[in-house]
Symmetry: C2
Subunit: 288 residues, 2 copies
């Protein structure tokens, strides 16, 4: 049995970005316009501003156009919806992303439901989640972070079919969709959350363990089945203010077969998948 193989999200995401860049260049050389991502940011949260800046920078690096619309904290729900609608109607926009969280006076569900599902590159629309979950259906887009988790597993040469997969967390943006994707890849999936009893025992049964709970280094060495694949989605800060995951990496890498670090694991995959979804959206449009 192999232990402690690092799943290098930095390297894997770099190779995905490179192939997206090449595909964008090909589209443009065929006479099409560059794919275009529109980002809506409401308010002045520093973390949200950082995310949006990173998305714009990555888009620019790959030749993807990006538009951003920044609204003040005081913006009304209707104003946000009006912008979503105008982006829906703009045929030169391929992807629409509303940076979450929105200010508390705005109903996120009402806003997200407005996004044209053909431009829902975040994959959060309920119809996309429904199709992602159902047998024989295909969503327009798979949500970016879950899709990134699956890519990390695939590109590490690990097969999913028939494996016991345990997902910690059931949020709409990570836990639930990643569980559905693992199920549709024929894993036997167990979904755990804050009401789960014997979390450690559940984890010990996992051949593939995906952790997305937002709890600093909760998952310890003796929670891991020897040789298991551990994907850590968590992005927390440790006691020294450093970015860390939900998994105690230094301990767990001694037991896991393959493991993602934080930073440098799932994190860089999310933006890479967003770029890929935006490209795919443009390709679908140009090829129809």
């Amino acid at each position: 049995m192999e232990f402690g193989n690092l799943i290098d999200g930095k390297q894997i995401s770099a190779s995905i970005r490179l192939s997206v860049k090449e595909d964008v260049e090909r589209l443009v050389s065929q006479g099409h316009r560059a794919p275009c991502l529109a980002v809506i940011l409401v308010g002045e949260r520093v973390d949200s501003q950082t995310y949006v800046r990173n998305k714009k920078k990555t888009a620019a690096d790959l030749g993807i156009q990006s538009i951003d619309k920044v609204l003040p904290e005081s913006a009304t729900q209707q104003q946000v919806i009006d912008i979503v609608r105008s982006f829906n109607n703009d045929k030169d926009i391929d992807g629409i992303l509303v940076q979450l969280p929105l200010p508390s006076h705005i109903n996120e569900e009402a806003v997200l439901n407005e996004i044209d599902i053909a431009k829902d590159v975040d994959g959060f629309h309920p119809i996309n989640i429904g199709k992602l979950s159902m047998r024989g259906r295909k969503p327009e887009f798979e949500p970016c972070t879950p899709k990134g988790c699956i890519e990390l597993i695939d590109r590490s040469g690990i097969s999913i079919q028939g494996k016991n997969a345990v997902v910690l967390g059931r949020s709409n943006i990570v836990g639930l969709p990643v569980a559905m994707m693992l199920m549709n890849r024929d894993a036997t999936v167990t979904i755990c959350h804050s009401k789960t009893k014997d979390l450690k025992e559940k984890c010990r049964e996992a051949d593939i363990l995906v952790v997305a709970i937002g709890q600093t280094k909760l998952v310890k060495k003796d929670w891991i089945k020897p040789g298991a694949v551990v994907i850590d989605v968590g992005m927390n800060t440790d006691e020294n203010g450093k970015l860390c995951g939900d998994v105690d990496f230094n301990e767990c890498k001694q037991v896991a077969g393959h493991i993602t670090p934080v930073p440098g694991g799932v994190g860089p995959m999310t933006i890479a998948m967003l770029m890929k979804n935006t490209l795919t959206s443009a390709q679908k449009k140009f090829c129809n």
Copy 2:
């Protein structure tokens, strides 16, 4: 520990039908029209004809109006879609049900997607499945058979929160939605299917076991954790041509805490829930 308590679907569904009947009478006495269910049947499958006849009969018993539209096997997809659309536009119809399976030349997904989600009393539209699965979202309707399973558990006084629930089967109409409903009721859910290894071991961990695989009496006594709740959705015929479930009832009732028989378990709940969804649809309309 208690053993072998029968969960009596016949009795529970009768009490649900009675309360639906009373609610229909109240609506009508308030001057509203009776709720109305429209059923579309394509082709001459004997089993489908039986289902449709039973639905009509139950509706009549409860004071719910039903319309049925029978099309020949040779009907085109467009003809079926046109009827769905005319029912969507008919404000006197509260629920639309397309009897499955459709003839193989018709794309089921294309037809089901046409049903107005406010009339999707079967709850099979992807947007309903998406909302059923997501945190903080509510579908217009919960699918009838899964909803029936949950009712059986609830009305037997069994709490779901924190329990280990194992679902055998992941179909769009039973396994997947029942798993999502158990998860949203705070069970820790494991979804098993034909690619699952060690099915027996998985079942033995279940406090609540829901079986929907269509395999005659596959689940045996030594698959059941003593005291577990066993919900058998299967409808198969045994070697003597008699209706039977996916669970070997005579064996398993010796170990299970609570168990549904077949017939007389989940079966009668499905139609009761369909009637309840149709009533709910009418109530929503009249109260807005």
